[in-house]
Assembly symmetry: C2
Homo-oligomer: 236 residues x 2
């Protein structure tokens, strides 16, 4: 008889640990498209925000990002305008989607985890529509839980997204490995008492990720794939 707690995409669970992946900058190469889309959105509302100030906030929820950027640049706008900026970003980003591909090794890493019996899920702050569009470039089994910003009350750096994702795998967050490219992922991992792993593929540097609590930092999914044993996971 089938164990209902086991994910359907893997018949043979070989590890007590599960992995929850962030999406943007971790599995798909979308961070720079987000930066430009946010920059355009702010500019349309008369706000000039330098790219680097946006970049180091990608991974936060859209709402938090806008509030933080406004505070940092000492600008104030109405709530209506803040919402308009969020909508503009979504619109600009959807137009850039053709440029967004998977990161090196992303598909191979996910396939390998499934085949060696390590449960995995995706937990991302993006809204359901944008996430669905980006997941088209990856082959994700229907059974893999995908938790988005629309599914939770508290966005990253709160750990709720990762916590819900782990629960859907039937694993506690404290038994999970969280893989992300931004300090917000690692802060969320830290708050959830999960093991945090950083990837450089979102453009953060290793020392920022390490200082934010990353146990290990790899270049991209391909590099992580060659180091599964370092995380105490079966590799084949």
């Amino acid at each position: 008889m089938r164990n209902q707690n086991r994910p359907r995409h893997s018949q043979k669970v070989k590890s007590d640990f599960a992995i929850v992946f962030d999406l943007d900058g971790t599995l798909v190469d979308s961070v720079y498209e987000h930066v430009i889309s946010w920059k355009r959105a702010f500019a349309d509302e008369g706000l000039h925000v330098p790219g680097f100030m946006i970049h180091n906030k990608v991974g936060m929820s859209g709402r938090l990002m806008v509030r933080q950027v406004l505070r940092e640049t000492r600008q104030r706008v109405s709530l209506k305008k803040m919402k308009a900026i969020e909508e503009l970003h979504k619109s600009y980003f959807s137009r850039m989607l053709p440029l967004v591909g998977t990161l090196p090794g992303a598909q191979a890493l996910l396939d390998r985890l499934s085949s060696v019996g390590v449960r995995w899920a995706i937990g991302t702050g993006g809204d359901r529509k944008a996430v669905a569009a980006q997941l088209k470039s990856l082959r994700i089994p229907d059974s893999v839980p995908v938790t988005t910003g629309d599914d939770v009350a508290e966005a990253k750096p709160e750990p709720e997204i990762f916590m819900v994702a782990a629960e859907r795998l039937g694993v506690r967050i404290t038994q999970s490995i969280i893989v992300g490219d931004s300090v917000w992922d690692l802060l969320a991992a830290c708050r959830g008492k999960a093991l945090g792993i950083g990837l450089l593929s979102g453009g953060y540097c290793s020392s920022d990720l390490e200082r934010a609590g990353a146990y290990r930092v790899y270049k991209d999914p391909a590099d992580l794939l060659t180091h599964l044993e370092e995380l105490g996971l079966p590799a084949d």
Copy 2:
């Protein structure tokens, strides 16, 4: 009688040291537009290059960038295709120029240096046409030397661009402060035995810039402006 060694934009030279500024990511907010333009250019030629791999090479000459990216992603293309990628990048970048503004405090910093008698110049690897287009957003006195990639044989990280820029100010590179946002600027400063200063406004992190030899790292030109004394320069 006028001292011909003194720059025309400042009647009163008060410091033996001069400053040579990089342009992209240092005075103008163009790094993320360069990343997207390169990504599009590579994609048009059938090469998928992740944004972060491009980002950490912005500041190199276009030719070096293309060669390095190809080696890193283990792809080979003809010389003709490499040149086509460079041209495509220029074309895409020129279309994104309306989004490129000055970085916070850039104009105020340059104006202050002129008024307190610190000589300064611009030394950038960009081609003359792109540089001229970007300088439109800044008020640069005609007398300020602007050295571009078209003026020298060896691009960054060779120190030639900065060396020529300093010479045009009548100052040796060893008596110059080089301000840049990338590790290539700092490697060039190091090779030229100049004092290197890093800015975070190109999206590199402080530890990468410090490890590449930055004497100090500031957030952006506005932050550098409030710390001129730290560099042993007159501030008012």
